[in-house]
């Protein structure tokens, strides 16, 4: 008989997420549901406020991708007011964005996703000498894998492991799970990088703080540009950015890259991470202006896994609906026409698999009704995956030379075909490839900034807000978790309406009115789970998307606003990213 398994809380993510799966006697997932269990309602709060206050407020959607919402919200206001920001400001924003990505992606892989791949307890039985030699197989310049270093790492963990209560944050996890594929030596290498990455992420955060004042939640954007003019005119400060950036780039190229190559080698035969994806549509937006009209990643849509074609994005095709979301109006509506009021219907009583495998009474969702605070976004009625994998695939198919070179090299090195990217493992790998592309290319923006400062020191455009005029606009682009857009309407000098269509909403949304599932849910169907009390396979798939659930669920439109007169600005494509 089929059984229901609940995983709540999904830890090592941003926000609050519950997953429920129905599993057959053979341990294969027959149906799956993702539910977000927190709602904050920031768009409601935005209404009636001064537009200048909105970017800092929207930044508080998420403290992990801490710059993403700040930037896109600022761009939305600038687009509405028709502001063209100075070239210097564009480049500084790119450098801050680079700092975010090369912080966020490694932190995700090592600290949030890492222990899905790495069995820390197994590392205890590693031979550190062998491990140290093995590290050269994956890179010519290994980091943190000297024999002595690895010995120290082992001792640190051994001390933890001696006392079962002393495992602290590593206690009670799925150690020894059958689907762990690394050898003890490989586990030890990755574990050493887990600790090293804790140190490196502080450096990456300092990179953001050089121009941003602090990280998390940098505070140096203004409508019209950036405020950190003293920092960019200070050569010592620029040197600090350069040196720290290079240290982080080195870590990405020689630890992160190497560990993913190692993961592909060992996990490419693990069915739970190689099974076909549920949703094979991908959407990404151009991002990273590194020079005038020069972007690192491209825009487009790939349909049904067909890597021979890429389509342009038509934003009128974007809708969100709430058939299974805890809001009143179920209908699919364009973000500008959205109307939503909370309509919480809660959980129902049920019996699900308990911690020891026996059935226990719990609360469960009612999947025939509403079951999540996340809405279901659709493009032309279809679900889309967004994120680094989408960005890499779209750019690759578009013929982006930089992306093609890096992907080609990676595929050659790992010996897998491009189609292997369409998997959980591929999604995790693509995130690293995106980090590498940024690490290898963002300093083009740095050099262009230096060149431009010689002739132009403008950092912030001036503007006025006419209280008698109405404005609308939006900021769009790819952030670490995928395509993000913020949409604003301004009337009487204050916010009339605010919307954010967020990456994790695309990926984590519940079924639509036709019962079509979004990427999280669709990806879990057909998954074989070895041990229902240790659903590591589920966690691994969900983590591969890098969930940011506070991002996904804040979305709410103001009540009953009809905004059908809105037209997407055709000039937008050529405007500031």
């Amino acid at each position: 008989m089929s059984k229901r398994v609940i995983v709540d809380p999904i830890t090592r993510i941003e926000g609050h997420l519950r997953v429920e799966v129905i599993v057959g006697d053979d341990g294969v997932v027959e149906d799956a549901f993702a539910s977000s269990t927190l709602w904050r309602g920031l768009e409601v709060i935005a209404k009636g406020r001064d537009p200048r206050n909105i970017p800092l407020m929207m930044q508080r959607i998420c403290g992990v991708c801490t710059y993403s919402h700040y930037l896109k919200s600022t761009m939305a206001v600038e687009d509405a007011l028709g502001i063209k920001i100075p070239y210097n400001a564009e480049l500084v924003r790119t450098l801050m964005n680079a700092a975010l990505f090369i912080h966020d992606h490694p932190v995700h892989f090592y600290h949030l996703h890492g222990v899905d791949w790495v069995d820390i307890v197994s590392a205890l039985s590693a031979d550190e000498k062998k491990a140290s030699e093995l590290a050269f197989k994956y890179t010519d310049n290994p980091i943190g894998t000297g024999e002595n270093e690895l010995k120290k790492v082992k001792e640190t963990i051994a001390k933890f492991a001696k006392n079962p209560q002393g495992l602290g944050p590593f206690a009670n996890a799925y150690w020894g799970h059958k689907t762990f594929r690394f050898t003890p030596e490989q586990n030890l290498i990755a574990l050493s990088h887990y600790l090293k990455a804790l140190e490196m992420q502080r450096t990456a955060a300092q990179l953001m703080a050089i121009f941003g004042g602090k990280q998390p939640h940098p505070q140096s954007l203004a409508i019209g540009g950036v405020t950190c003019v003293m920092d960019i005119l200070n050569p010592a400060r620029m040197g600090e950015y350069l040196v720290k950036f290079q240290a982080m780039a080195d870590f990405i190229n020689n630890a992160y890259y190497a560990d993913i190559v190692m993961a592909v080698e060992m996990y490419k035969t693990e069915p739970s991470v190689m099974k076909p994806m549920g949703v094979k549509n991908f959407m990404a937006h151009k991002e990273f202006m590194i020079g005038r009209n020069e972007y690192l990643f491209d825009s487009g849509i790939i349909k049904d896994g067909d890597l021979s074609k890429v389509f342009d994005i038509d934003e009128d095709m974007i809708t969100e609906e709430a058939t299974h979301s805890w809001y009143k109006n179920d209908n699919p509506l364009h973000p500008y026409k959205g109307e939503t009021e909370p309509n919480y219907t809660g959980f129902v009583d049920g019996e699900t698999v308990g911690p020891d495998g026996k059935m226990v009474k719990t609360k469960q969702i009612d999947e025939t009704k509403k079951y999540s605070w996340i809405k279901s976004p659709r493009y032309n009625g279809e679900p889309m995956e967004v994120g680094p994998l989408a960005s890499i695939l779209v750019s690759y198919v578009r013929g982006n030379k930089k992306v093609q070179a890096v992907v080609g090299e990676f595929l050659a090195k790992t010996g897998v075909p491009a189609s292997a990217l369409l998997s959980t493992l591929g999604r995790t790998g693509a995130r690293m490839l995106q980090a590498k592309l940024i690490a290898d290319n963002a300093l083009v923006a740095f050099n262009n900034l230096i060149e431009n400062l010689k002739v132009d020191q403008e950092t912030c455009a001036t503007y006025t807000i006419d209280k008698d005029k109405e404005y609308h606009g939006r900021g769009i682009g790819d952030v670490p978790r995928g395509m993000l857009s913020h949409w604003i309407r301004i009337k009487n000098g204050v916010v009339e309406n605010y919307q954010a269509v967020v990456p994790s909403t695309w990926n984590a949304g519940p079924m639509d009115s036709s019962g079509v599932k979004g990427p999280y849910e669709a990806d879990l169907i057909g998954l074989k789970i070895e041990d229902l009390t240790q659903p590591l396979e589920i966690i691994r798939i969900i983590h591969s998307y890098d969930p940011c659930i506070a991002c996904a669920v804040h979305v709410m439109d103001t009540k009953g606003k009809t905004l059908s007169e809105y037209k997407v600005n055709p000039l937008y494509g050529g405007c500031s990213i």
Binding site: D8, E14, I45, C62, V115, Q206, I210, G213, S220, T227
Partner: protein
């Protein structure tokens, strides 16, 4: 002598603590410090810095060092409510290799959803076990506002879909000390800004035990570590201001120790971002700095290992460690006097707001600043 009595009190507190069982008999923090490559001298240097941060006399340095060594008596439970994880991220920024992070390595982090390896049932078990095993001994830190009362369903957790409020109340019952980390759990935060659609509120409003507020969006890691040390030293609440913020961290205005204070006194102001004044580090008051109304130690401690802070990056303070700052601090890039929309104070004008924000804490200077705000608004050229 006053000093002596305090000294004696703290000494006996530490003696008491040292009789408590350690989490792990095999290691001590002094051993750990040695292993991580710190000398005793470096450790004492850090203790000296913390002593002065905590505004204690220099003679207390050995006590602070001893208190740090007592950290191994403290299991830590960290809960996530309605939040953005920024405070957890701030905690992760604690520098390595530094004593701050050492202490966090060393404290037994029993429950922290962003970091812990366990998930689902196993995660819930970890929380239950920690509360049971360390009854009356664990530290509770809470991040995020809490949807409250009839609206508590806006946050649920675990297979039994218990509300965030229920979990926070339950975890607080047996905690030795409770800290609200960040402005959301201290004062409700961004989700509690008008019209507060989820009825989110501060931790102190949902539990009946004393809460020490460590606000900021997010607070710096030194304020978190300092708060903890202070607890170990005193075993009681530190001296608090009217908003239950530790005075040693939130006792001074940003403005008082600001690196651009000389510019303010000289009347040299940035008129708009990117102008010559901005290039030369003029005061940011007229482009909206709320430093004069904000109590925190950012201008001294900075962020990210002293890399910078907003004012250094040319952007004014936004007042993020003050209650209701989203509603009360006006427009971010204008002086407080020029407010456009409704606020918590019913739009009574800048001096009323400034007075209210600084209730009982602002000094006479503040009146001058409020006056300055008015003058500045009058003088502001129409654009």
């Amino acid at each position: 002598m006053k000093d002596n009595s305090l000294f004696n009190k703290l000494s006996s507190r530490l003696d008491e603590l040292s009789n408590l069982p350690k989490l792990d008999d095999e290691v001590s923090i002094s051993k750990l410090i040695e292993e991580k490559g710190f000398s005793r001298r470096e450790f004492m240097g850090w203790a000296g810095a913390m002593t002065s941060m905590l505004m204690l006399p220099a003679s207390f340095t050995p006590l602070v060092a001893k208190a740090a060594e007592m950290a191994d008596r403290l299991p830590l439970v960290w809960l996530h409510m309605a939040e953005c994880t920024g405070c957890s991220e701030s905690l992760l920024r604690s520098a390595t290799p530094s004593i701050d992070s050492l202490i966090f390595d060393y404290i037994s982090l029993e429950y922290h959803e962003t970091i812990m390896a366990a998930a689902g049932w196993q995660a819930e078990q970890n929380l239950e076990h920690a509360i049971e095993k360390y009854k009356g001994r664990y530290i509770l830190m809470v991040e995020g506002g809490i949807p409250h009362g009839q609206s508590d369903y806006f946050l649920t957790l675990g297979a039994h879909a218990r509300t965030g409020e229920e979990i926070a109340v339950n975890a607080s019952e047996h905690a030795a000390a409770i800290f609200a980390i960040g402005t959301c759990s201290s004062f409700g935060g961004v989700q509690a800004a008008a019209p507060n659609p989820t009825n989110a509120t501060a931790l102190s409003n949902v539990i009946s035990k004393p809460v020490i507020n460590v606000p900021g969006c997010p607070p710096s890691e030194s304020n978190i570590v300092g708060t903890l040390l202070h607890f170990i030293l005193y075993g009681t609440l530190p001296a608090l201001d009217v908003y239950n913020r530790p005075k040693w961290a939130y006792g001074l205005r940003i403005h008082d120790a600001c690196e651009r204070r000389g510019r303010f006194d000289a009347g040299e102001f940035v008129q708009q971002f990117g102008d010559d004044g901005a290039k030369n580090g003029y005061c940011l008051y007229k482009v909206g700095c709320k430093g004069p109304y904000t109590f925190n130690n950012c201008s001294k401690q900075k962020f990210n290992q002293g890399t910078s802070w907003p004012v250094q990056a040319g952007h004014g303070c936004m007042g993020c460690s003050e209650p209701d700052f989203w509603d009360a601090m006006g427009i971010v890039h204008e002086p407080l006097g020029n407010r456009l929309y409704h606020t918590a104070f019913g739009g009574m004008g800048s001096d009323a707001t400034a007075d209210k924000i600084g209730r009982g804490i602002l000094t006479v200077t503040a009146i001058g600043i409020a006056a300055h705000a008015l003058i500045s608004v009058i003088k502001k050229p129409k654009d």
